[in-house]
Symmetry: C2
Subunit: 138 residues, 2 copies
Amino acid sequence: MSDLLGRLRGRGWRMTAQRRVVAEVLDGEHVHLTADEVHARAVAKLPEISRATVYNTLGELVSLGEVLEVSTDKRAKRYDPNAHRPHHHLVCAQCGAIRDVHPTGNPLADLPDSERFGFTVSDVEMTYRGLCPNCSTA
Amino acid sequence: MSDLLGRLRGRGWRMTAQRRVVAEVLDGEHVHLTADEVHARAVAKLPEISRATVYNTLGELVSLGEVLEVSTDKRAKRYDPNAHRPHHHLVCAQCGAIRDVHPTGNPLADLPDSERFGFTVSDVEMTYRGLCPNCSTA
DNA sequence: GCTTGACTTAGACAAGGTCCATTGTAGGAT
DNA sequence: ATCCTACAATGGACCTTGTCTAAGTCAAGC
Ligand SMILES: [Mn+2]
Ligand SMILES: [Mn+2]
Ligand SMILES: [Zn+2]
Ligand SMILES: [Zn+2]
C-alpha cells in the first residue's frame, strides 16, 4: 500500500502528518480495525492526533474507495484497506478474529427471480462464522 | 404467530400486557424493526410501556430463539420474528427496505479448505444489496 | 384475596459516532 | 523565502443505541 499515499496525492488530497499516520496504520493483510483501534495506534506514532480527525480521515478514505467499512459484529464498524480485491469475511464467533476469504461460485446467480421481489440486485456480502484454530482447541 | 404467546406461556413465561404488545408488534412477514421502532409501535397500543422493557423483552425473545437479531446496516440491530425458517436478506441500498430471501446452493461448500485458515466453519450469513422497485424507477 | 418473586419503570450511564467553532497549516502564489 | 488562504485538525458538546439499577407494581399460585 505504499503507493496509496501517491494515489491520494494524485487525487488532490492534501497530505498532512495525521493522514499519513492513519494510512500507515491501515497498511497490511487481514487488517480490520475499529476507528478507536486506529486512533490508539495512530496516537502511538503521533500523540496529538484527535479522535475526530481519525473519524474524518477514515470517512474520506471510504468515500475515495480506498478503504471499506465492514460490520462483522454489532459493535463498532471496522475499516479494511483491502479494497482492491473483492472478498468476504470469516469471523471467529468467540474471539472475533477476522480473515479475508474468497469463496468460489456466484452467489448472485443463486438468487432466483422469484426471490428478488422486483429489486435490481447488484451485490452480495457474505459473512462466514465459526471457531478459529485457537478457540476450537480450548 | 398467534401461537407464539401459547408457546411462551408453556415455557413458563409470565404473561404481561407489555410482553403481549411487543409480541403483537413483531407479528408478520418481512418484519425487521429496530428496538426503537418496536417501542414506538408498542407505545401506540400501550402508552406507558418503557424503553427498557422493550429491550428486555426483545432480548428474552432472542434468547428463547423466537426472534432473530439482524444487522443489515451499521446502525441499530433489527428484530426478525421469522426465526423458524432459515433465510437471508435482500436490502434496498437507498430506502433500506428488507425482504427475506431463500437462495439456492450451499455457500458453505463454496469455501475451499485453503480459505478456511484452520477455522471450524459452521454458518454463513448473506446480505444481498440492490434497489427496490420504488427506488430503481426514480 | 394475599404473598411474593418476577416484571416494569425512569433515569443515570456507557460506547460509538457526529458536529461545530476555533485554531493551525500545506502548498500554491508572489 | 515569505505570504495567503482554503482546507484540515482540534476538543468538546451532543446524539443515538443500548445497558444497568433501585424502587415500585403485578401475575399467578395458594
Ligand atoms: Mn477484509
Ligand atoms: Mn428476515
Ligand atoms: Zn477465536
Ligand atoms: Zn428502496
